[in-house]
Symmetry: C2
Subunit: 346 residues, 2 copies
Amino acid sequence: MASRPKPTNSMPTLVHVAKLAGVGLGTASRALSGQGYVSEETAARIHRAVEQLGYQRNELARSLKVKRSGAIGLVIPDVGGPFMAGCVRAIQKVFRQAGYTCIITFTDSDEKIEAQELDYLTRHQVDGILISPAPGSGAHFRTPQMAHTPIVSFDLPIEKQDYDSILLKNRHYARAAVDHLIGHGHKRIACLGMNRHHYSIQQRMEGYRTAMKQAGLQPMLEIVDLADSGARRQLDKWLALKSPPTALFCLNELTTLEAVEALAERGIRMPSPMAFIGFDDIQLGPYLDPPLTAVVQPAGQIGECAAQRLLELIDAPEKLPSKRLMLDAALILRGSCGCPISRVTY
Amino acid sequence: MASRPKPTNSMPTLVHVAKLAGVGLGTASRALSGQGYVSEETAARIHRAVEQLGYQRNELARSLKVKRSGAIGLVIPDVGGPFMAGCVRAIQKVFRQAGYTCIITFTDSDEKIEAQELDYLTRHQVDGILISPAPGSGAHFRTPQMAHTPIVSFDLPIEKQDYDSILLKNRHYARAAVDHLIGHGHKRIACLGMNRHHYSIQQRMEGYRTAMKQAGLQPMLEIVDLADSGARRQLDKWLALKSPPTALFCLNELTTLEAVEALAERGIRMPSPMAFIGFDDIQLGPYLDPPLTAVVQPAGQIGECAAQRLLELIDAPEKLPSKRLMLDAALILRGSCGCPISRVTY
DNA sequence: CTGAAAGCGCTAACAA
DNA sequence: TTGTTAGCGCTTTCAG
């Protein structure tokens, strides 16, 4: 933090305003907050003083007094990618309209960092927390402060806790995507994922497995580590098979990105010899050649629901029973799955 | 804001800690902040009490007392796109390491919203502001609070003010890009931009004009409004010409995106019949067919410099002379400009 | 309707 | 070394 004490630039305070307007401190406060009775005339005088001094209320002092900071914490892994950006935008909007500040913090999906950030937020008295949790987190949700802070998670639930969450029907839509590929006649459908411990990924894996099983097909599912070009290596392994897969299903944005890049590098076209569907859209996805078929998540809706729900919890007089919302996604058929190309955009 | 008063869940305070440890309030405070003398033994007792109560310092109260909020405001148009995401990530990192919170707010490049957000931030006593300003802003930088709050702008300067800013050599690199196209033998090089009042855009336009003029070529520069598919319409106009352009230079991320999409829709390949260079990279740009040649901005570096500079200003005992940093970009030659394809990534 | 006074939880003198 | 005290700037009773 700042080493040197900031020069004591005293900004005008309510006391100054009151003095200038020739009224008491309390009256000035009431006039500005609109709470309690103040005569037209006095109010006008006070507002004139405010104008003249360029007074702005010190929200810190106010928060201390009223015991509400008017801030909420938004804890997310990162802001790359259209999905999270969409969520953040929607969340920010809802809270701003409700008069709250959003303190955004990044965890990099690291449990340790997440714990730090949560600690940080509660120390700053946030009125609520919106979190897209790191997989495996959970232990650090048990501080006394956290117990008194409304929380809703989105994108994935907080493990082993029954907090509110806004989720997606991951399993269902993963299955739908794979079924679609099967419908195109594919028998060898590979599935690429990352982050095995991630709840959404697990759900999507299940969807894939179920679809394959139902169709009596052999699953080819691999979870890789993107750090050491695991996606590319896995793809090469599959391609080296005597009978390589004819379709690929990627479980999230990052693997989709890697796969598309890798396919492009190797000159492998879609949908033949390799049909493709990704869970999550990527930027330009609808404009690639061929356009990418994808399960697209309603990012804005997810963010909005989560924010709305958190507001409910904050305003609730007592603890509400926790709720889990499951939202729908959309399987958007473009060209990469083998469907006739139609440039349906978002 | 919250309508109902939050149930008065009194969290443990320093008083509780002090009492439990059997010491005075001041001693407890000193022990926890590490300032001033406290005996080993008492300190241990105090820490035990902290542990036992699950005490967390109320940063709001602390801020009020020490007159530093430990928060900085980050004001940006939006978080789409790799460029801003990269900046934000770097900024966040620097401030977190220095012990500051980042309050991120979005302006949508709207002057009005920007003014609101700035007001919001100063009311919350932020120790400094980092801003990628909306074009045309400037008036609302003149409140007494703003005058006492260190500011550094990045990506573009604050108009008509001499605040610190971290900028890019926009003109230079725009010119380099166009020169490169000229080097490939192009005579009719179109240039597509948006947001005519945006400083960076203006600089880049100048770069384009200079390059064309030097080469004795006729500029074909159009600034469009993306809202009503202006980019597509403009492209169609150019294509309808008796001698249509053979190369296209886009002035930013959004126009690049639009142009790439439009070109794809119309089945126009790069680099022939249309060579292409974009100012700003886009996601997947290096993996398109052909990979996109682009001027890429060092987003991380820009963010880091800006954050670093703001920290300097905050820690400075008095007003520092304002400084303007001009950073270099990189013209990355991939395939779309006509160069032999090399898959140099970032 | 208005003013005075009591704190929110913390830090920073100042005495002890 | 430690405890006591006086506020930071604001809201909120509670009498006037």
